[in-house]
Symmetry: C3
Subunit: 185 residues, 3 copies
Amino acid sequence: MEQHKTTDLSKYNNSWYNPGGAIKRLVWYFINVLFFINPLNPSSAIKKILLKLFGAKIGKGVTIKPGVNIKYPWKLSIDDHSWIGENVWIDNLDQVTIGKNCCLSQGALLLCGNHNYKKETFDLMTGTITLEDGVWVGAKSMLTPGTVCKTHSVISVQSVASGELEAFSIYRGNPCMKIKSRIIQ
Amino acid sequence: MEQHKTTDLSKYNNSWYNPGGAIKRLVWYFINVLFFINPLNPSSAIKKILLKLFGAKIGKGVTIKPGVNIKYPWKLSIDDHSWIGENVWIDNLDQVTIGKNCCLSQGALLLCGNHNYKKETFDLMTGTITLEDGVWVGAKSMLTPGTVCKTHSVISVQSVASGELEAFSIYRGNPCMKIKSRIIQ
Amino acid sequence: MEQHKTTDLSKYNNSWYNPGGAIKRLVWYFINVLFFINPLNPSSAIKKILLKLFGAKIGKGVTIKPGVNIKYPWKLSIDDHSWIGENVWIDNLDQVTIGKNCCLSQGALLLCGNHNYKKETFDLMTGTITLEDGVWVGAKSMLTPGTVCKTHSVISVQSVASGELEAFSIYRGNPCMKIKSRIIQ
């Protein structure tokens, strides 16, 4: 029988990864639970103040719905008039940059973490996610580490994006494929 | 280079959309958070009383599991002996009508809202969702605005439905396709 | 027109299914809500003590992230150095066995319940789920009843697995298909 090397997660070591001070992360953890994940706070205004206090860049006219889950605000930038929908999950182990006039619909997931499945030690890998202006991420869709959504690209509901999505193009599926162009009249 | 029109969400205007009085919506918002989304209340009975108080039509023998999220009960009708599973999300910006003996499994999403991605103003569009009798919506599946599930159709897990699903037929995928007939012995 | 038999959920009867004493299940229900689903408790240690108290087998070096949802700990076994990620849902109506060095990423769902859609009575059916050592279940993926993930198999993000997944193989899609081999260097 063929011999395979195997993984050993007891050797997993992410000590090189330093996403911010331990106290800042701890305080943010509970703020995120109490004011973001917790839908008892429906106010966008309070959330934007808290995000800015923790280093996020937040533009004018940004809307943040209830139930949102944000890992590290200091790795987040949201430009003017963009919307973060209900139960959106920004798992930004790495920088997430959202342009103007973007819409992240309900339950979308921006995933910046990955693991090297070819290594015994299952090493952590992170990747940035960039949404240029006018991008729409459909409900329950997922963007994987390294995704770049060029201007006005659209990811349909419950689809999975990676790599670079062409501008003014509509994608669907897992992995998502371009299905048509987006023409704005 | 080709010139494209772009979106401007500062011009978004959904003032034509009137889903119910502001106070009613606000009160329901917190009831939904405290008694439906909040799994500390596992009782189906209390939830059915609250839904009826807010205008939902609820038949006999209906079961509503913990963690359910309902947008507007006055736009909801559930007929006899239908089940709303754990963490089901009925995002009914428009009317949702569920027949008798239907099952919505864990984490299913009924999505009634959409946007016109061809417009600079990204206009809100809503669509009703109708489940005839005996329909089964699989775990983590999604029905999009305008979906009509004809009697005893089945949507497999983590699939996406739109348009009209044939009676006594089983669908799977994103977008979901008919994979076989449903024969009840 | 063709005549079809229909379902009648008022005749649904799962009295044969006995997943544990009523009081034990009730107490666990609230512990699960307060200490597992509730992200105010980020500690892995407390969760592992509670799981063991309720009959789970938990190995050394197991990590359990916030937001996890576990149905019945007495039907759960997790071996050494395996990780249960944020918002993972182990809906173990039947036995779930997780080997060593496994990773269940964010939002994964292990689903042990099903219904017989060919029966008027929509009978409950359950199936065990087994993960051998070194398995990785990607973010928002789902394993259906009866799934066996052979050693070091990988299910990509937002995919759906059933049946048996080959060892050292990578799967993607709904239903997931093998896309390549996993070679660990």
